[in-house]
């Protein structure tokens, strides 16, 4: 996949300076607008997940742009002609941002709970106590499977918890699942 590698490089260089900015401004903590949790060693998802994300985005971009283009050229829907640049720009931005999005996903196993983070523009942190996990699910999409990746999803009694760690290497995912199930079992506390 030469294309995706290329995209990756471009994105890396574009995102590079921004990543260094917080480090340089580290002493004045309050000037960093981004929220962060102190003292957590985040584990990141597999770099290969970036490939999966880009492939999926690429497929979606081709399909959606293709449909809009067909609507514009073959069926003479003029609004589709206007929409096409916007759709294209949306996908280009998504592809450019994808490496940062993937790097923003992280998780950490603390003594009593699992912490999960994701998002750049819309940041979200979730802490799930081990005793609250009702089940741990492993799912594999077609692209992920080709790359040997798996997604781990946690279900608690609250539907809003919605924690899913994407892009773990399959062996890691299974090991993590077994570890979490053991932890959940040892701290089980009703509902």
């Amino acid at each position: 996949m030469p294309e995706t590698d290329h995209d990756d490089d471009v994105a890396m260089t574009s995102a590079g300076p921004e990543d260094h900015a917080p480090d340089s401004a580290a002493p004045a903590e309050s000037t960093d607008p981004r929220i962060d949790l102190p003292g957590i060693a985040w584990k990141r998802v597999s770099p290969k997940y970036l490939v999966a994300g880009l492939v999926q985005l690429g497929i979606a971009a081709v399909i959606v742009c293709g449909l809009v283009a067909v609507a514009w050229l073959a069926w003479d829907w003029t609004w589709a002609g206007w929409a096409l640049p916007f759709v294209a720009v949306f996908f280009i931005i998504s592809i450019v941002v994808e490496p940062r999005r993937v790097r923003s996903i992280g998780y950490a196993l603390r003594t009593d709970d699992l912490v999960f983070r994701r998002g750049i523009m819309f940041q979200r942190f979730v802490a799930v106590p081990y005793g609250r996990m009702q089940l741990v699910d492993i799912t594999r999409g077609p692209v992920s499977r080709a790359l040997g990746l798996a997604d781990l999803r946690f279900v608690t009694a609250a539907a809003a918890t919605a924690v899913a760690i994407p892009g773990l290497p399959e062996a890691d995912a299974e090991e993590l699942r077994d570890q979490l199930v053991t932890l959940a079992e040892s701290r089980r506390a009703g509902l």
Partner: protein, 517 residues
């Protein structure tokens, strides 16, 4: 009669009839509708002109066969009813409640008693006349209830008490002490040699005795007098109840619709009549249902949890054991503010509720004053009482801000122009209180021991204002515990503390067996 001896018991003999009650009425209605000409003829001596099936049968001389067919159908119905009654049995052991039922498709449902989320006794009008009641043992999840329909009224009360006692962690020793001694001359539980006996709870001794019993059952608001305190802690005058139902957003909508109707008619338009009039007529039944459903409301604390009762003709009585309330929401719509009324709703883990009446089981107090709120909260949060708690709750309800709740900074006014000062949180002995809303006031109270997860989020707009939001996730329900705007550093601290406290309190929580705590 001991229903919790671990043996299989049967339900009230009239159960199939009561469960099939609606179908029965529908069939009767169908027959009557088809034979109305004949009825008219019988009662008013108006000669009939149509040929209904009876004429046909009479003319062909098939009366005997017809009677035989009716008899056959009756026998089949009775046989099916009898068999379905025979096959429908339940048992309660020390750990489980089980129901098996069904003639062709057998179902077998089993619930663990330490996972019981609530026990509800429903007495609909028709079963009440038969002296029967429906017992629902709710466990977590959608449609996760074990239903015993129907039991004798007294048996249902006894069974509820025993199930709650077993669930609370008390074992047979105490059980035996609490149960009343067997009636003289009656058989004891041990001498019941048959492996299955009947849970009618109505010994057919003397006819007048039964009638007296029925009347007493019908009039008694709460049969379980030895367990429930006699007084409900909240009393809702009917006027307040009607007022609370009338002062809703729906009424505003109706008024707008009514104005539209008048304007339309004044301008000689016909369509508003067809568009609006059905809504107005339908709303009458809406108001009627809302009011009658909540008549005779009562709430009382029992050793086995909070008991909430509703209903005038069809009554409904739910017991929520300790530790089964995952979040409590106290709210006041704008229209209620002049009267100082509040509503209390809860999140519970069970959403079974297939009682066919769409009752709102999440409202534990439909309307009440601020004092009622603190009394009900005192029942639901036994560990959170006292003057301090009263002040904290008071502040959570009516304060405009600038008190011992951690409020949002002034820059949050960009996102919450009215309520930024009020939006805040406070942690207090095992619970987290989150308040927001100045126009319609809301206070959410979450016991830390029931928190499922905590999340912290920040969007671009919030980031530019150095704000963040915290949500405390509980099982789903009407109460949403979230702090939409807070200083970013405060939110991060709350996220960390709430997560840690949730773990601590959950580890020390013993409410699944509440009496042993």
């Amino acid at each position: 009669m001991n229903l919790t001896d671990g043996e299989w018991h049967r339900l009230h003999p009239a159960s199939p009839l009561l469960r099939g009650g609606i179908a029965f009425v529908a069939i009767a209605g169908f027959v009557i509708a088809n034979l109305r000409e004949r009825l008219v003829e019988i009662f008013f001596h108006v000669p009939s002109y149509g040929d209904d099936p009876l004429d046909d049968i009479y003319a062909r001389g098939l009366v005997g066969w017809a009677l035989l067919a009716v008899l056959g159908v009756l026998i089949v119905i009775i046989a099916v009813f009898y068999l379905s009654w025979r096959m429908h049995s339940f048992r309660v052991t020390d750990d489980l409640v089980e129901v098996r039922s069904g003639l062709l498709f057998r179902t077998h449902r089993r619930a663990r008693l330490d996972r019981v989320q609530g026990v509800t006794i429903t007495r609909s009008l028709l079963p009440r006349l038969f002296g029967a009641a429906k017992l629902d043992v709710a466990v977590a999840g959608n449609d996760g209830n074990v239903q015993l329909a129907y039991l004798g009224s007294a048996a249902a009360d006894a069974l509820r008490r025993e199930i709650l006692q077993l669930a609370s962690g008390l074992r047979a020793s105490r059980d035996a002490a609490v149960l009343p001694p067997p009636a003289p001359g009656g058989e004891t539980a041990t001498s019941a040699s048959a492996d299955v006996d009947t849970a009618t709870g109505a010994p057919a001794s003397v006819a007048t005795g039964i009638i007296n019993q029925r009347v007493n059952e019908f009039l008694a608001p709460e049969l379980d007098a030895d367990v429930a305190p006699p007084e409900s802690v909240v009393r809702i005058p009917v006027v307040r109840l009607i007022g609370s139902v009338l002062l809703s957003g729906y009424t505003v909508f109706l008024l707008v619709a009514g104005v539209a109707l008048i304007v339309g008619v004044a301008n000689d338009a016909v369509w508003p009549v067809f568009a609006v009039l059905p809504i107005l007529i339908g709303s009458v039944s809406y108001y009627w249902n809302r009011v009658t459903r909540m008549l005779r409301y009562s709430i009382a604390g029992t050793p086995d949890g909070v008991r909430v009762g509703y209903g005038l003709l069809s009554t409904n009585n739910e017991t929520l054991p300790p530790g089964r309330i995952h979040a409590i929401g106290v709210s006041q719509p704008l229209l209620w503010r002049p009267f100082g009324w509040w509503r209390i709703q809860v999140n519970t883990a069970s959403r079974a509720r297939s009682d066919g009446q769409n009752r709102d089981h999440t409202t534990v107090m439909p309307v009440g004053k601020a004092e009622d709120v603190s009394r009900v909260l005192g029942l639901m949060l036994p560990a959170f009482v006292g003057d301090d708690a009263a002040l904290v709750i008071r502040a959570g309800l009516v304060s405009r801000g600038d008190d011992d709740y951690s409020g949002a900074p002034r820059r949050a006014a960009w996102l919450r122009p009215f309520s930024w000062r009020r939006t805040g949180f406070r942690a207090a002995s095992g619970v987290l209180l989150l308040r927001h809303g100045l126009v319609s006031r809301h206070l959410a109270i979450v016991p830390y021991a029931r928190v499922q997860s905590v999340s912290l989020s920040q969007g671009p707009l919030q980031r530019s204002l150095r704000l963040a939001a915290v949500q405390v996730q509980t099982v789903s329900g009407p109460v949403i515990a979230s702090l939409d705007v807070a200083d970013a550093a405060t939110a991060v601290r709350l996220f960390a503390e709430a997560g840690a406290d949730a773990v601590t309190y959950a580890a020390s929580d013993t409410s699944h067996h509440w009496s042993t705590s």
